[in-house]
């Protein structure tokens, strides 16, 4: 059991994070064309609504919840100090988790029952669907059976994750958690590991820049004023956008 724990809680995260980092950087620098959400709305634009919308809003909230517990554990614990607020947080998370699961099931059914989507579906999509489904299911199960996750995440998992990030892995507390939680942790690492090699790469290129860029974009291939100025030496006019 200790070997498995060590594998899931120590080896797997480092392998996954390394693969994630190297893979993402390599993909972004050498295979930038592959960064796409590979939307299939164009081929099937009706049933997608019942899958994509609940899934994405669900995962957005659930992911932000996990992130908050990781970044400000004290804040979460302070919030949870009153039972009502704890209940509000847990129920909100659970509802969005359900929404995610429902959306995911709709997406899976849609993808494998629409003939037009076959040509744009690959093996990696299936892997992701299975992983995401198990992960969501495990998450909901944990939220239901091992209460109250938001609190013990902040007290147990956050220190563990920090210990991973600071290269001093400490699994003493986490190793005592029940196996569904460990499965959920392992699932998370697996998803992180395959992220750069799947359509999930669109997570890495969220278009947040859109919020503050001006609407219109004009790109000059070269600085026209400089290029026509006889005094400018050629070596100064190296391109900016290679």
């Amino acid at each position: 059991m200790a070997y498995l724990d060590n594998f899931i809680l120590i080896a797997l995260p480092y392998v996954a994070l390394t693969v994630f980092l190297i893979g993402s950087i390599y993909k972004y620098t050498h295979r930038k064309f592959q960064f796409s959400s590979l939307s299939s709305e164009f081929l099937e634009g009706r049933r997608l609504f019942y899958g994509s919308v609940p899934f994405h809003w669900g995962i957005l909230v659930v992911f932000c919840g996990h992130l908050t517990a990781l970044l400000i554990p004290r804040g979460i614990l302070a919030w949870n100090s009153q039972p009502v607020r704890l209940m509000v947080l847990e129920i909100t998370g659970f509802i969005f988790g359900i929404s995610m699961l429902v959306g995911l099931i709709n997406l899976i059914i849609r993808r494998y029952t629409t003939p037009r989507l076959r040509p744009v579906t690959n093996a990696m999509d299936l892997v992701i669907y299975i992983l995401l489904f198990l992960q969501t299911f495990a998450g909901l199960w944990i939220a239901y059976s091992f209460r109250w996750g938001s609190s013990w995440f902040a007290t147990l998992l956050t220190p563990y994750l920090y210990s991973i990030f600071t290269l001093h892995p400490d699994t003493t507390a986490v190793a005592l958690l029940p196996w569904p939680v460990k499965a959920h942790i392992a699932g998370a690492y697996l998803i992180i590991g395959i992220l750069p090699f799947s359509r999930l790469v669109h997570l890495l290129v969220l278009p947040l820049n859109y919020l503050w860029r001006p609407y219109q974009q004009v790109i000059w291939n070269w600085d026209k004023k400089k290029v026509r100025n006889k005094k400018t030496p050629w070596s100064l006019q190296r391109p900016e956008n290679t």
Binding site: K32, F33, F35, S36, S37, L38, S39, S40, E41, F42, L43, E44, G45, L48, F49, S52, V53, F55, H56, W57, P115, R116, R118, P119, V120, H202, V205, P207, N209, Y210, L211, R213, Y215, Q216, Q217, V218, I219, W220, N221, W222, D223, K224, K225, K226, V227, R228, W234, S235, Q237, R238, P239, T242
Partner: protein
């Protein structure tokens, strides 16, 4: 004044014969690929008709282009708030069925079928699934079917036309139609650029061509919704949007774009326009009725000393200025005022202008009572209930504009945001040119009448001759005045030539690099 140069175009609709040579030239070069089979960066539509994709002009469905609220413009179906909220599911995205499902035929079945009693057939198969399909729509399915109930009656431009007027059009449905060739308008205020969350779409500073960076496109597919002309297409195979690139590799080499080069009717003109980039937003925010005027106002006179000075300060090359002065576009659009943007009310300031079709104006439509005639024939002949007839007996040569077969409103809804006077002005000029040339070449029109028509149209004989020459007799170099792209400078900018010496031609195939 921020002077920029733009490659702009004019399509002369009276000359379009609807042969689709342009579409084929474009398809063969650019979109004959998996995922792009359904795309027609250049397409020719029959008007009245629903077009491609179906009913693209109806922004109630697609929410394309810009709207105006409290004096400010906003993207109708995309933008920072709406675009990001709808990013998981875009409710206004046209899907493949709005274009058509691409297909081919199993031609091999014709050869390989075993011997039998029946003629072997080549069944259509979908190019997406590879399975046999029943073809519901195809490229130019509505070609020349302007009058059929499925197409003309569903034309979004019909909504302002009274049922009586529509009836007149549909009685003539077998006769009256025109062709509308469309490519990307390379707008000054492009909605696709503004809508792209990842910033993949941009306007090229040097010549104003709007391009999509395939490395940056992430398939958020907002551009497909935002472009009111539906000229940004989603490649379902690569998961990237694609659009007309105005054949920029050809333009940079001094060649006309493939669609223009191959145009059989020689309807297409291409040249440089200078415009004031500082006033784009102001021009796009004008009232509906002032939109054409405001767009014309930001197009600058390339002969004006101040404009030339400002252009030079902005680094516009002398060769580009010369091209702007010789530009057929400037003549058609500004000097003569003959060419109008398609659907100016979309507020994207398109840089493709159309000379509205005069159509054969020789005839008018009359309502007649033909029951006596029909009774005489009965019971021998079938009774037709055609009360409307197409009357070709005009008092005057070519008849009058008021008698035109298409309601003015229809053309106005296409080219002037509904302003009929604008179209009338253009038509008067086009008619005046014809009458003037008839005087010159045939001589059966009195000088007085010809001069009157010219002055009514607000042009003189000299101008009419120039319009005639550029319309009917232009040489290749007059239709396409392509500015030098200064590729030598572009190359020097992209790479220091010293670095790539020996890496081209018969030398090394890749860059000579030192070490690992």
């Amino acid at each position: 004044m921020d002077v920029r140069s733009q490659i702009a175009m004019v399509f002369h609709l009276d000359k379009c014969i609807g042969c689709h040579t342009c579409s084929i030239a474009c398809k063969n070069i650019w979109t004959d690929r998996k995922g792009a089979e359904y795309m027609w960066w250049n397409n020719v539509e029959t008007k009245p008709g629903t077009g491609y994709p179906s009913k693209w002009e109806d922004q109630e469905i697609y929410k394309g282009g810009w709207g105006k609220r409290n004096g400010k413009i906003h993207l109708k179906g995309a933008g920072k708030r709406r675009g990001l909220v709808n990013i998981f599911y875009n409710p206004n995205l046209p899907v493949i069925d709005d274009y058509y499902e691409p297909f081919t035929y199993k031609y091999l079945d014709l050869i390989e079928s075993p011997q039998g009693d029946d003629q072997p057939t080549a069944r259509p198969v979908s190019l997406i699934t590879g399975k046999p399909i029943d073809i519901k729509m195809g490229p130019n399915w509505d070609d020349d079917l302007g009058g059929t109930p499925d197409y003309a009656r569903n034309d979004p431009n019909m909504k302002n036309i009274t049922p009586e007027e529509q009836e007149v059009m549909f009685q003539l449905e077998k006769m009256a139609m025109f062709y509308l060739p469309r490519i990307c308008n390379h707008c000054l205020n492009p909605a696709c650029v503004a809508s792209c969350p990842s910033g993949a779409i941009y306007k090229r500073g040097e010549d104003g061509i709007v391009l999509i960076n395939q490395q940056v496109c992430r398939a958020w597919r907002m551009c497909v919704t935002a472009c009111p002309y539906k000229k940004s297409y989603f490649n379902w195979h690569t998961g990237k949007s694609e659009k007309c690139i105005l054949c920029y590799p050809r333009l940079e080499a001094g060649l006309a774009p493939a669609c223009m080069h191959s145009c059989v009717g020689r309807i297409r003109y291409l040249g440089v326009l200078l415009y004031d980039a500082d006033r784009i937003e102001e021009a796009a925010s004008a009232d509906d009725k002032d939109l054409i005027k405001s767009q014309m106002d930001i197009i600058l006179d390339p002969f004006d000393e101040d404009v030339i000075k400002a252009a030079k300060e902005n680094g516009i090359a002398d060769s580009t200025l010369h091209a702007a002065q010789a530009s057929p576009i400037y003549k058609f659009v500004k000097q003569w005022g003959l060419a109008l943007p398609l659907h100016p009310e979309f507020r994207t300031l398109p840089m493709l202008f159309y000379i509205p079709p005069l159509l054969p104006v020789m005839a008018s439509v009359k309502k007649v009572d033909n029951t006596t005639e029909a009774d005489k024939k009965a019971p021998l002949a079938k009774k037709w209930n055609n009360d409307w007839i197409y009357d070709t007996s005009t008092e005057e040569l070519w008849g009058k504009l008021e008698q035109i077969r298409f309601p003015l409103k229809y053309i106005a809804s296409l080219f002037s945001a509904g302003d009929e006077d604008v179209i009338k002005e253009v038509w008067k000029k086009l008619m005046a040119v014809r009458i003037h040339r008839r005087r010159v070449t045939v001589g059966d029109i009195t000088n007085e009448k010809a001069d009157n028509t010219l002055s009514e149209a607000g042009i003189n004989a000299e101008m009419a001759d120039a319009i005639y020459a550029l319309t009917s007799l232009p040489k290749f170099e007059e239709r396409f005045v392509i500015p030098a792209a200064h590729r030598e400078q572009a190359i020097e900018m992209m790479d220091f030539t010293g670095d790539t010496k020996g890496a081209t031609g018969f030398g090394f195939k890749s860059k000579v690099k030192r070490g690992v």
